[in-house]
């Protein structure tokens, strides 16, 4: 990381966006994303995620500030910057009346590839994304999850250095989502910088190394996922007993509850271990069959940060 500045995939300074009609979507954003990173941009509805991405890929004109991509200023070298990026937008934006493979091949052409090269690459990607059998049908006839994968194939046709995905797994079922995660992880391993926005906090947790949280057009947290998670003290686990439990024994935890007669919830501090819980329960003849982590810790953090930020904004407005 000695050449950290040069190798940044994205550097955003004091970025502002006011839409026609007066909505201030971005109020001075600062962001740096390293090359090769897997980066999450998180935030509630209307926070400014899609606006930020729109500016990065030249679909939205910024109002103020500057953006550098792989060391190139967006305003100065826009065409070059565009060639480095592949984008999967939040909403479907391909021609629904075109055959599936044509959607991908055309995009390759717009990035300067010959039809032959674009077709070869399109077929590879459609195979990898499980759409090869559908390639000759109309894009309209794909299911929602397939349409999303089609947009991923389209974004990758020119082998971009950076892939930007705006809520790529919205409306995608769990199994396919996992498949998509594996796919993206693999691409990231091959060196492609990935930025994604998501509402599924577990998704950011599972995939991303670094994260920024945006709220009302401001970055409220910009950190590594590890540091962020370390900030959190408490976790809640749900335990499922094999047989009905009458009452809960004292356990070495922060809190515990009986949800129904076979379901127990326990809250643990980071220094407390689940083994302690199991030992006590076994001592009382309670056998745990299954368990799961209940809170997404990120969710908890997210709520806290956003609330703090809202409070700060309110205080600012009052003064």
């Amino acid at each position: 990381m000695s050449n950290a500045v040069e190798s940044n995939a994205v550097e955003i300074y004091e970025l502002e966006k006011t839409y026609e009609g007066g909505t201030r979507a971005l109020k001075g954003i600062e962001l740096a994303i390293a090359e090769g990173d897997f980066f999450a941009l998180l935030g509630p509805n209307g926070a400014g995620k899609s606006t930020t991405i729109g500016i990065l890929c030249s679909l939205v004109n910024k109002t103020a500030g500057s953006v550098r991509v792989f060391g190139h200023d967006l305003d100065r070298d826009r065409a070059w910057v565009k060639a480095q990026i592949g984008v999967v937008p939040q909403e479907f934006n391909f021609n629904q009346f075109e055959p599936v493979e044509e959607v991908v091949i055309n995009q390759g052409g717009f990035y300067g590839m010959t039809r032959k090269a674009a077709k070869k690459r399109a077929h590879e990607l459609l195979k990898q994304l499980g759409l090869y059998d559908k390639r000759e049908g109309m894009a309209r006839a794909l299911s929602g999850g397939m349409k999303r994968r089609l947009m991923i194939a389209r974004a990758l046709v020119h082998d971009p250095r950076m892939l930007i995905l705006d809520e790529p797994t919205a409306g995608v079922d769990i199994e396919l989502r996992r498949g998509m995660w594996d796919f993206l992880t693999q691409i990231n391993k091959q060196g492609t910088t990935i930025i994604l926005t998501t509402h599924y906090l577990e998704e950011a947790e599972a995939l991303c190394r670094n994260i920024a949280i945006i709220n009302e057009g401001r970055i409220v947290e910009h950190n590594s996922m590890r540091n962020l998670l370390a900030k959190l003290s408490q976790e809640t686990f749900v335990l499922y007993a094999r047989e009905p439990v009458e009452s809960l024994p004292e356990m070495p935890v922060v809190g515990s509850r009986l949800i129904d007669d076979e379901t127990i919830e326990v809250d643990l501090n980071r220094d407390q271990e689940l083994t302690g819980v199991f030992d006590v329960l076994r001592g009382h003849g309670i056998v745990i069959e299954r368990m799961k982590n209940k809170t997404s810790r990120l969710e908890e953090l997210f709520l806290r940060l956003v609330q703090d930020d809202d409070a700060a904004i309110n205080a600012e407005e009052r003064s």
């Binding site: 030249s58 565009k82 934006n93």
Partner: protein, 278 residues
Amino acid sequence: MSIRSQSDAFDHQGPGEKAVGLTPRGAWNAFLMLLTREILRFGRIWVQTVLPPMIMTALYFVVFGHLIGPRIGEIDGVPYIQYLVPGLILMSVITQSYANSVSSFFGAKFARHVEELLVSPMPNWLIIVGYVAGGVARGLTVGAAVTIVALLFAELSVHSVLNLFGVALMTSILFALGGLINAVYATHFDHISIVPTFVLTPLTYLGGVFYSINMLSEFWQQASLYNPILYIINGFRYAMLGISDVPIWSTYAILAVGILIAYFYLLRLFNKGIGLRG
């Protein structure tokens, strides 16, 4: 990474070096892809795009040429049905070039796949040129189809091949640009038919498709000279029949000036992102 470095479509130079989006080769590939997509689009829906003007032209020939024509006799020494041919062909070229770019580009805006172009390294001028080429392809395809229909009713005569193609090509370029401007401003499907209905059709009908302005009173002759489409249709009639109400140079002057103004105006709209970027 390996695939990337093999690609010669765009360069991946590091900071400090000259950074371009598309190489000339890449730009050519992008142009071809956009043109092919446009041709496939109107080809897929040929029943809506190519067939109707053929049927309409046939009807014009039957009604005006065969039924009414013999009562009119000759205009400028040419039988009326023959006189109609150039105007009807060019009318199709005008409406079809315009229709192609306005509906295709507005459709792309509406369904948002225009974003495929906006995120790509294609410069704005190249996007314009690609769409215009699509409009020209449709205008000339339909023009050729209508010419075949005309052959069923009248003899085809060509006075000057060069002017024939010159005027047809420049006309389709001009109206494809016009359709594109219309599409940039349009925010609703209704907006794509306003100009064709209220501007293009009246100007074409009054632009000498069906008559020579010598048949009009002095006042209307003078008024007609303010209609640019008059010059275009007469230029094309000159190319086919060797007769015209206006000198051929004025046809080219109108076309050339129109194309330049429309192109640079459109480029400005694209560069500002009007109707395209939030």
